[in-house]
Amino acid sequence: MNGLSITNVHKRFGEIDALIGVSFEVAPGEIVAPLGPSGCGKSTLLAIIAGLDSSDQGDVQWDGVSLAGIPAHRRDFGLMFQDLVLFPHKNVSENISFGLQMQHVQKEDADKRIAEVLELVGLPGFEERDVNTLSGGEAQRVALARSLAPRPRLLMLDEPLGSLDRSLRERLVFDLRDILRQSEQTALYVTHDQEEAFTLADRVVLMNTGRIEQIDTPQDLYRRPASVFVARFLGLNNLLDGTLQTHDGNMEVITQVGRFLIPPHEIDLPRLKDDKYLDSDEDDQRPVTLLLRPDAVSLKADGSFQLYGTVQETTFRGSTCRAVILVNGLPLRFDFPAAVSVPGAGEAVTLGFEAHQALQLFFVDSASSSAQDR
């Protein structure tokens, strides 16, 4: 396989498992974003791929050749750190030329390349600037230019925008995407920010406590989260505990907010631990978690399902309005388009939705088992 492939990587730090059986691939030109809460192992993963740390088990390969035993400085990979780590005793152009010098690039060629990458990151003419006087955004761009200059086979970015304020981050993430795409750079972009990952990545690798929960395109990840953890991480918080009963192909989910009778094949069934699908024709009863998507519900009584509740509070959030609605004593959160007028607190409302748009089922015991790529 061309590009990067990681197979069954394990890493322990003392008592803590930092990585447990991590496997995925990055094709040439692809941008893959390992995404997860802090402490999920994504930075450890980068350090292992970069050769700054070693794995206890498993293999990292490039174009099918194992990188085991090859030190960081001979891997031809680039790494951009969260707080940039520009060399404070070198100016902008000396910082950028460092990697070129290590490749013994001729002075004229190096100067040309430096001007080129500075142009690319939008800082033409910054060669002689002192890195200690750069603003946050400028330093970010210089760090990116330094990583790009030696044309690494793979560029890894470790939360590169993590230390910037929100508006600057939002602007830079688009620039970053354009720069990476324009230079057809194969990249691994580690972040804890779902928006960044969704904006930049062709595929997202969602991680949790050292394991991969799901690998998917941003759209598929959001549309079809593979586990309760993924759903919750993506902010899909209406997760109801219940039981699933199947009779004659029909599914009946019993939860605190009511019973949902779902016709056959209306929604997908999640996979079981052994990777088999549940045979919905068989009579069965199992504990499940039901996801009610916050953005697939209307305030009208249309659709095949209805719920009745009371508005507890509403929060205006710009393009949407978030409402907490008490259904059967359970607070559920919904997002409505800003154009919809949401009744005020204390008012009774009817919620309508379609099962295939709004509902998704997770088996409780399969919460973290569906880690394989689709």
Binding site: A50, A72, R74, P88, F98, N132, G137
Partner: protein, 597 residues
């Protein structure tokens, strides 16, 4: 919106070496009052004596003011002394860096058992009185030392095979013993907080270990290495006890020459000229250094050590670490052990018929406290001969007085310094306080002799003369250990306690007092240890009938005879233990690191 916020936040993490924004504030009356006592003290006992030295040097000037210097420098022997002073200091500095830098790397980047012991031991070495260090190396490698004794009795030799005392090697090794801790601490502390990802960034960009060290790590460490090197150079440039005792008569540095001219030849004017030359040299070095460092230091975000340090994982690493630790410990522990062991050992010379000079191989006959018992007996009854027991009492008295004086003067200075860091008064006076640190002890002593011998300030007979000199030496240390502690008592801390329901008295008892008390203890320990071990100034100004412990050791060590030697060892051991305890107290209670100096 790439605005100042990021930069300001980043600036908070930067080195304190960043110059403060020059903000002129009018000094408050209380600040001036608090400065008064320390300033008067410095004026009377630092600037006035130095001024007198200056006056005495120029008094000889006929015609040009440079005449006395030209005259001094036209003497071949003085030029020789100056030359030797320079190159032995340079050589000592290079050797100390050579042994200190690998040690600094090891302590900075790795976590291993016994690390704090190594740090503590090297720290103890630093505060040990020069006379103790000299005695310790004598006990290990001297003609009657452990190694020579062992070799003589093993191989039946008539002469000690290792010639260590009175060699350049002895001077250099003692200087390394003394100053390695400066490199370990100044460079090691900085290195331990240097972001390891700077190196990782270089590695990912294709730099191997050597390139990373040469192009990234060393340039960033350079300010710390330069400070350490300068301190070591100044300390070895003005080294006194080591040269006098281990070097012997054929080695003379400016410092010993000043002493010799003063005490033996009573040529005070020449001594004054030499002291001035020395002062100009150290001052010039300090200025060059300040220029250099301000040009070299970069704003760096320093990292906590738990991020930068890791365990040694490979066998090769363990082997190399073992060698570094072994060398450090061999350098520092072996002489101290030899001193203690030798002081409680009973050595007897075998009567050897073939020995022409009456030398026989000494044989170890077990342990004895005889050397310590002898300390109480005044065998000579000579007028200027004080029994070692008396010298201990004298030393303790001087040390006590020094502690009181140094704290009384240091506390107000530290207090104002901690309150208003950026006020004009503080910024201009702070460097003044540090001046005595860069002035050699013998010069201070000489200044006292020259200046304080006539009314209204005739202190020749005053028992306060010695403590005043010691206070001058201890003062910078006291201020430097008190200031950060006082600074750490932020109003926020007090407010926090108050908000939690503490009344002002409780706040003082639970917040201010514990912090100040700890700092005072550290400062007192510094003053006490420094006073106990001070030799250079004391050698010039102490009254012969009241010698301090280091003086008594010097007298004993320069006299022939096993008994005198044994007593010198016993006294040195006592001083070593007291100084060690002092350093342990400092290590235990200090709040800021020695990096402040």
């Amino acid at each position: 919106m790439d605005t100042r916020v990021d930069r300001d936040r980043a600036a908070l993490k930067y080195l304190p070496a960043m110059p403060h924004q020059a903000r002129f504030k009018r000094p408050r009356l209380t600040s001036i009052l608090l400065w008064l006592a320390p300033l008067i003290f410095l004026l009377l006992f630092y600037f006035y004596p130095l001024g007198s030295i200056l006056g005495m040097s120029f008094a000889r000037a006929q015609g040009s003011i440079l005449a006395p210097f030209i005259e001094a420098l036209s003497s071949a022997s003085i030029r020789g002394v100056l030359w030797f002073t320079f190159w032995q200091a340079l050589l000592s500095t290079l050797l100390t860096l050579a042994i200190g830098l690998p040690g600094a790397y090891l302590l900075a980047r790795y976590e291993f058992r016994g690390k704090s012991i190594i740090k503590a031991l090297t720290g103890i070495a630093f505060v040990l009185p020069t006379l103790v260090v000299a005695a310790a190396f004598n006990a290990l490698l001297g003609p009657q030392g452990l190694v020579n004794s062992a070799l003589m009795s093993t191989f039946g030799l008539q002469q000690p095979p290792i010639h260590f005392t009175n060699t350049l090697t002895a001077i250099l090794i003692a200087h390394m013993f003394y100053n390695t801790t400066i490199v370990l601490r100044l460079v090691g502390d900085f290195w331990s907080r240097l972001d390891p990802r700077l190196g990782q960034a270089a590695a990912v960009l294709g730099a191997n270990k050597w390139s990373t060290l040469r192009r990234i790590t060393l340039p960033l460490l350079l300010p710390a290495i330069a400070s350490a090197a300068l301190l070591v150079f100044i300390f070895t440039f003005t080294s006194f006890g080591v040269i006098l005792v281990l070097g012997g008569p054929q080695f003379a540095t400016l410092e010993t020459e000043i002493y010799y001219q003063t005490v033996s030849l009573f040529n005070l004017p020449l001594a004054a000229v030499l002291a001035l030359i020395q002062l100009v040299c150290t001052l010039a070095l300090t200025i060059i250094y300040t220029r250099l460092v301000s040009g070299l230091s970069r704003p760096l975000s320093l990292r906590p050590t738990h991020i930068t340090q890791r365990k040694i994982s490979t066998w090769r690493g363990r082997f190399l670490a073992g060698i570094v630790i072994l060398v450090l410990m061999g350098l520092i522990v072996a002489p101290l052990f030899a001193l203690g062991f030798r002081s409680i050992s009973n050595f007897e010379r075998t009567e050897s018929s073939t020995a022409r000079q009456g030398y026989g191989a000494p044989v170890w006959r077990g342990f004895t406290l005889e050397n310590y018992r002898q300390l109480n007996i005044n065998r000579r009854g000579s007028l200027f001969y004080a029994s070692p027991a008396t010298t201990i009492a004298v030393s303790l008295g001087y040390a006590g007085a020094t502690v009181v004086l140094a704290i009384l003067l240091g506390l107000p200075a530290a207090w104002v310094l901690s309150r208003r860091r950026s006020s004009f008064l503080n910024r201009s006076l702070d460097p003044l306080l540090m001046l005595p640190l860069g002035t050699s002890a013998v010069t201070l002593g000489l200044g006292f002799i020259v200046a304080l011998d006539k009314p209204p300030l005739d202190l020749r007979a005053s028992p306060l003369l010695v403590p005043l000199a010691h206070t001058l030496v201890a003062f910078p240390f006291v201020v430097r250990s008190l200031t950060p502690a006082l600074r750490s008592i932020s109003p926020r801390l007090r407010e926090a306690a108050a908000v939690m329901g503490a009344n002002p008295r409780t706040v003082f008892r639970h917040v201010d007092l514990p912090l100040v008390a700890r700092a005072l203890l550290v400062a007192a320990a510094f003053a006490f240890t420094i006073s106990l071990g001070e030799f250079g100034a004391t050698a010039l100004i102490a009254r012969p009938e009241y010698p301090t412990i280091p003086l008594a050791i010097y007298r004993l060590i320069t006299r022939p005879g096993m008994q005198n030697y044994g007593q010198a060892l016993a006294l040195s051991t006592i001083l070593m233990l007291v100084a060690g305890l002092g350093m342990l107290a400092i290590e235990r209670f200090r709040i800021a690191d020695i990096g402040e100096f």
